[in-house]
Amino acid sequence: MSVVLVVPSQLRALAGGRGRIELDVDAADGRPPTVRATLEVLRRNHPGLYDRIVTERHELRPHVNVFVGHDDIRWSGGFGTRIPEGHEVVVLPSVSGG
């Protein structure tokens, strides 16, 4: 399944200047792919971008938020959150950093 990841302006240089990138993510169990699977594809294809979103401990950086649709994954299942068809994964710097 193709998952669209929306890249914040601060990180677009790491995505070839694009604000959206499409990632081909397997939905192995026939269900919608998870954020974790999506980030694994991101890690392979755009390691620099992945590093800015996720730490070496494979944890979401404290001041980065990831949304599936309008839902913050911190409150909707973390990296295990499913991405329904037609929903985008949106990465945004949080209001708390800086």
């Binding site: 302006s9 601060q10 979103i53 730490t55 070496e56 001041h63 710097p93 950093g97």
Partner: protein, 381 residues
Amino acid sequence: MVDGGGDMPEAAKGVRAEEGDTVLLIGTMKGAFLAHAGPDRSEWSMDGPHFPGEEVYALALDQRNGGRALWAAPGNPFFGTTLRRSDDLGATWSDPEARTVKFPEGSELALKRVWQIREGRADDPSSLYLGVEPSCVFESRDGGDSWSPVQGFLEHEHRPFWTPGAGGLCMHTILPDPANDDRMGVAFSTGGFYRTEDGGRTWHPRNVGVRAEFLPDKHPEFGQCVHKVVHHPSRPERLFLQNHWGLYRSDNWGDRWEDIANGVPSDFGFAMAMHSTDPDTVYIVPMESDQFRCTPEARMRVYRTRDAGASWHALEDGLPQENAYETVLRDALDTDAGQAAGVYFGTRSGKVFASRDDGDSWQLLREGLPPVVCVKAVTLT
């Protein structure tokens, strides 16, 4: 605006400087600045901010091998820390896609901050070291292209017992022995002073005599909150240590420490700097206490010893002596290579002061900067 992004200021152009000039590398909580003066160090220009919005706790200018490799470790509050290099004194910076400083898989550690960038020995110009948080030493053998943690330190058996101070679990001091390739000292908060004698394979705490006021056992083997350690390359075995309460000297690479808080208003403080040519001269900036981390009596005073800690004397000419509730952090004090040393420090209130006569007199070089966390003075060769 749909994604919370915004353009950052692009004020930094870099420094045009020549041999004999002095460059001050100033790291703040919101970017880096470069101050520049000619050989007489009387007129200063300021360039910056570099990396606006990013904290810069570590800066270094490596002039070995005839080069001028300017290193910075800006920490983006959202997206993490990267190591950047400039070969034209800040006109342009590398912007690597891949983060080169990372803890390995399985370590269960993640890089929080780079606290120190330290060049290796003069006869090994490809060697560089980083002190990072959580406390570890990273090493590069290829001039900074690639980095790896020093394994013996990464896997140290004491690691579970090291705890962060207010600034974090920070490795802030790295002292390679210029006379012995296998020896190096490091200091971190908390943990204390550790030394290797076998090129980094094993590390042993060397804290005998150093107090830990915040623990029931005031003299543990390790766990001290050492704030800074300095030494002079001509006498590498003699170390000076500013502790979280305590001012010490060791004449044997840390095997034993002696109290040298002779005539200071407080032995609490963060910053400490070595005179570049006189191995008996050291500078500190005492703070009132751990409960009130400001200059004693609201007077901005640097203290200097010229006799290796036997006595300390206040330097205040040109520094504010009223209502100066200032804080000078551990890496915000440094000296240049002048025979009459330039001495420089920055404050959390965003002021930078400079002296060009060993600290006898001072001028306010700049105010209004973001909180200063790092000052490095370099005389260009």
